[in-house]
Structures are given as structure tokens and as C-alpha cells.
């Protein structure tokens, strides 16, 4: 992983041509309230490069048809492109086989799939599912639902006030009743990078499979599922510069084979009669109905774009930007950064004492600065810090230090207005 590439001096900084990168994203040149858009809500969704937009237009203009069905030329082409997109995803996360790559609507659907399908065959009364205190609601609620169904218990690894998992507590929670650990790689509300490699090693010592919520990490740090040895991993297309409505579930073949289908329908079957249906092979068993074909193509294009630049370079640039933003914002009196883990990525959440995040968000918006305010779908994290909400700036490699300065100036203006 590249976040160890500390830049002590600028010499080690990668030579990313940010001006030219910014030109790849048409939306970045628009104005908001007559101010240049400063888009710092990348943890919510990322902007799309022109080649991703073009890919969608190309597909619908030239190829559009249903896959795995028709004998006609268009259907064949669409099927080829869709399967090539799967291969692109497979090689991006270095999975062993295309069978391990299932297209979903997004991270949420991928987690629901595992919770429902894996949960059904593995959870019995009194069993446990282990998550952490910093999970997004999408890695809490699906497990609550299946735990209730199977009379299993949801257990939570606590975090400290820096927003780091307390590893000793995690070790204490591991026991034979735990049937799966599902944990976020990078926290969307705190930016914490969790030690997933160590978590996987410890869980595997007790033969417990581990699911990684990589929604906030695949776009920031290189991921190799073979090297990590995770059992499941999920991410969303729209947070990695691709379209909305497409996501990926990676799962080890041995688990996916053992799991029952999540949804029934076309494409996921081999033969159907009213007496008996034979399910299709992987990965189709888990892709019922016509999938988001254009979305898969757009996602593959986004991955091609990112790997063209190089995730190592992106990670190093974003780390430098986060460090600069942390330093700059730390100098603002009354500003408290929420989430101060030693290993962080790309997210800077803060609190301005008496000033409510919604007021901050509206005021920054008028300066063209788009940030997220609220609970970030992580109510337990807000509860940990006794805060009703926070303001969150989240960075991408197309953001600049100048934009961080605009953010800082705008925050200072807010403080003055409310003083």
C-alpha cells in the first residue's frame, strides 16, 4: 500500500498534471453562484471524466441491446463489452477469476447480498456477526436484518476518540460463535484507514471469513484481494469516478458457490420448470435480471482512466493534499477536526463549536464550496463524539491546495459572521 510513501519533501511528490486532469472532468469548470465550483464532496460521490460520459453515450448510441440472450450482432457486442468490463474489474482488484466478480447496484446491494445469502447458510441462533463502531449504515442495517431473522447477535468493535478501532477489543470479540466479520476499510465520516490486513489475519486464525466495505478505499489506495486474502469485498462505481447504479461484489469462489441466490429471475438460471430450477454458474447466479450494462462499461472506463494515472500516484498526491488541508484548517481557532487517526485518507470532518454544520454548509455553498454536512449515514459515530452532525470535506486527486485555501477562507468568513 502506498500510504507509506511519506513525502518529506516535494521532490517525492508524483508529477501529476492536475491542470490537465481537471480538464478531463467537464463539471469542474462550471460556476456555482458565479463562483468556480470547489467540489469537496468526493466521499459522497465523485465527478465523472469525459471518457466515462462518452462511454455511456457510445454504448447507447451504437451497441445498446440485451446481453447473454440474443443471437444478433448487437447482443453479442454488448455481451462482449459487459464481460470485458468484468475482466477489467477483476484485474483491477487482482481477483483470481471473473467468476468472483459480481455486478451489483452498489456497495449497499453487495453487502445486502452477502448478509442475506451467506447469512442464511451460516448464521444460527446465538451466532455472531462482528462489525465496527464506525460503519456506514449500509454495513449495519443489512446485518441487523439477517441477525434478527436468524436469531443471531450483532457485535460491535469499539473505537477510540481518534476514530481508530481498538484492536485488543477486536481480538477479545473473536470467538467460535462469530460467523463473519464485516468491516469498513476507510471510514466515510472520519477518514480512518483500518488495519484490514491484520484484522483478516486474526479472523482467519479462527476460520472466520471477512468482508471489506471498500466503498471509500478503492479510489484512493491500490487493492489486491489475493494479497489481502479478504473473503468478500464491495465497492460502488460512482465513488470511483464511474456512473451511479453499478457496483461490485468480490467473493471467494468457495463461498459464492456455497451461497444460495440472492434474487431470482432471468439470467441467473440454467433451466426452469415449475418443478425444479437449476441455477446458473458463477457469477451469473447472482445477477438476476438485465443488469446495468452501460454502468458496467462506464465503471470499466473509469478504472481504465484511474489505472492510466496510477493509483500509487493518486494516493501519494491525495495524502499530501490531506496533510496540507489538515495543517491549514488546524490553524483556524475554534475548529476541531473529528477523526484524528494516525492513518487517514482523503476525509476531513470538523466541528465549529456553536456553529451548526447546516449553517456552515449553506455558507460554504454560496462561495462555491460543496461539502457534506450531517451525520454521513454514520449515526453511531456522531453519538461517539456527542455531536448532532459534522461538516465534511473530502478530497480527490483533482482537488488542489488553492481549493483548500478557498475552503479555509470561507470557513473563516462563517466564523466571523457568527461571532
Amino acid at each position: 500500500m502506498t500510504y507509506s510513501m511519506k513525502n518529506e519533501s516535494n521532490i517525492l511528490l508524483p508529477d501529476l498534471d492536475i491542470d490537465s486532469i481537471r480538464k478531463d472532468f467537464p463539471i469542474l469548470s462550471r460556476l456555482v453562484y458565479n463562483k468556480p465550483l470547489v467540489y469537496l464532496d468526493n466521499a459522497a460521490t465523485t465527478q465523472k471524466p469525459q471518457i466515462v460520459i462518452d462511454e455511456l453515450v457510445y454504448y447507447y448510441s451504437n451497441v445498446n441491446s440485451n446481453i447473454h440472450r440474443g443471437v444478433h450482432k448487437l447482443s453479442q457486442e454488448a455481451t462482449d463489452l459487459y464481460e470485458k468490463a468484468r475482466m477489467r474489474v477483476r484485474s483491477f482488484i487482482n481477483a483470481k477469476s471473473d467468476k468472483e466478480i459480481i455486478f451489483t447496484r452498489g456497495t449497499t446491494e453487495a453487502i445486502n447480498l452477502v448478509a442475506q445469502s451467506f447469512g442464511k447458510i451460516s448464521l444460527n441462533e446465538g451466532d455472531e456477526v462482528l462489525i465496527s463502531e464506525m460503519e456506514h449504515h449500509s454495513n449495519i442495517v443489512p446485518w441487523q436484518i439477517i441477525c434478527q431473522e436468524r436469531k443471531a447477535n450483532l457485535k460491535v468493535i469499539p473505537m477510540n476518540d481518534d476514530g481508530e478501532i481498538i484492536f485488543e477489543e477486536f481480538l477479545k470479540l473473536l470467538n467460535p460463535k462469530v460467523k463473519i466479520v464485516s468491516i469498513v476499510h476507510i471510514s466515510n465520516s472520519l477518514g480512518t484507514i483500518n488495519p484490514i490486513k491484520e484484522i483478516i489475519i486474526e479472523a482467519h486464525k479462527q476460520n472466520i471469513p471477512v468482508m471489506i466495505d471498500a466503498a471509500q478505499s478503492v479510489q484512493h489506495v491500490p487493492i489486491d484481494v489475493k494479497e489481502l486474502d479478504c473473503d468478500f469485498l464491495a465497492f460502488s462505481g460512482h465513488k470511483i469516478y464511474g456512473p451511479t447504479g453499478i457496483g461490485v461484489l468480490y467473493g471467494k469462489e468457495k463461498y459464492l458457490n456455497a451461497m444460495p441466490p440472492y434474487q431470482g429471475g432471468g439470467d441467473m438460471i440454467k433451466t426452469v420448470s415449475f418443478e425444479k430450477t437449476i441455477y446458473n454458474d458463477l457469477p451469473y447466479k447472482f445477477e438476476a435480471g438485465t443488469p446495468n450494462i452501460a454502468g458496467a462499461l462506464g465503471l470499466a472506463k473509469a478504472i481504465e482512466y484511474l489505472t492510466g494515472i496510477g493509483l500509487e500516484k493518486i494516493a501519494a498526491y491525495e495524502e499530501d493534499l490531506l496533510n496540507y488541508a489538515t495543517e491549514t484548517l488546524s490553524q483556524i481557532e475554534d475548529l476541531r477536526i473529528i477523526g484524528t487517526a494516525k492513518r487517514k485518507a482523503s476525509v476531513l470532518a470538523f466541528d465549529l463549536k456553536e456553529i451548526h454544520p447546516h449553517d456552515i454548509g449553506t455558507m460554504l455553498d454560496i462561495d462555491g464550496v460543496a461539502v457534506r454536512t450531517g451525520q454521513h449515514c454514520t449515526e453511531p459515530v456522531m453519538k461517539h463524539y456527542c455531536l448532532p452532525a459534522t461538516t465534511r470535506a473530502s478530497f480527490s486527486f483533482y482537488n488542489t491546495k488553492e481549493e483548500v485555501n478557498v475552503l479555509a477562507q470561507s470557513i473563516i468568513k462563517v466564523i466571523k459572521m457568527f461571532s
Partner: protein
């Protein structure tokens, strides 16, 4: 900056900093709690209503929220004290009209009195809920003595 100045007028900033009628009425006869599940804003409204005359003799609020929601609650309490229930309901309608009407429509600011400071809210659909939480909660308190309000039906999302 104009929109912002209109949204955060001095009156609003002042009421946010020094909210009027902040606190509880222990022996009130109308009370409701309201919350906005999207942003976590919470408010409680307490009203003492003279049963014979229908006059609101006292009104207080407490809770946590943004400047818009706090100022809105504070200004609301100053308007309601001493008014009959019927007038409180009319004020609710006027307020609702102000924050949800088309930003381009002509508004007769002169007749709005203190409520005129909320004209800026309609420029920010995401903030309509913040401004109206206290008013919905008040209405609920008057209509049902004990209730928790969630203003999900209001347009806007935050």
C-alpha cells in the same frame, strides 16, 4: 453574497445567539417534540393555553439545531405570546407561505412583520425544513397535547 445576507439577516443571527423564551414550562398544558431525522435537529415546544379564552399565555422552546431552526423557534415564541390559538394557526399559514412560495413571486413584505426575515429561506430549498420545524411542532402541540413531530412531508431535505 446577497442570497446569504438575506438568509442570515442580523435578526436571525441575533435570535440564534440569544434565543428568546428558551427553556421549559413545567406545568404547561400543550407540549410536543419535533425532530428532523435528516439533520438531527431536535426541538420541544411548551405552551400554556388559557382554556376559557383560548389565549396563549406563555410559550417556550428548547432543543438543538442550526441557526435557522433556532431563530425560527425563537421568533415564533415572541409572536405567539398573548395571541389566541386561532391567530397562532393563521401565523403558521403565513409562515408556511413565506418559506415555501416561489422565490420569484411578489411578496408583500410590509404585511409580514417579523416573519419577513424568513423570506430568504425559500431561496434554499434544503433549509425549508430547518425553518419550519418549530412551527410544525407548535401546531402539533396545540392540536395534540403530547406528540413527536417529524416534518418529513415538508419539501427540502435538510
Amino acid at each position: 453574497m446577497n442570497e446569504l445576507q438575506e438568509l442570515y439577516q442580523q435578526v436571525i443571527l441575533d435570535h440564534n445567539k440569544n434565543p428568546r423564551n428558551f427553556g421549559e414550562i413545567h406545568n404547561c398544558n400543550h407540549h410536543a417534540a419535533g425532530h428532523n431525522p435528516l439533520c438531527g435537529d431536535q426541538i420541544e415546544v411548551f405552551l400554556s393555553v388559557e382554556e376559557a379564552t383560548g389565549l396563549i399565555t406563555d410559550v417556550k422552546f428548547k432543543g438543538a439545531g442550526c441557526a435557522i431552526s433556532k431563530a425560527s423557534a425563537s421568533i415564533m415564541t415572541t409572536l405567539l405570546k398573548g395571541k389566541p390559538i386561532e391567530e397562532a394557526k393563521k401565523l403558521f399559514d403565513s409562515f408556511h407561505e413565506i418559506v415555501t412560495s416561489d422565490p420569484n413571486s411578489e411578496t408583500d413584505v410590509m404585511n409580514l412583520g417579523k416573519l419577513a426575515v424568513f423570506c430568504g429561506v425559500r431561496e434554499f430549498p434544503a433549509r425549508v425544513k430547518c425553518a419550519s420545524l418549530a412551527w410544525h411542532t407548535m401546531l402539533n402541540a396545540l392540536e395534540n397535547p403530547e406528540i413527536v413531530t417529524s416534518n418529513d412531508e415538508e419539501k427540502g431535505n435538510g
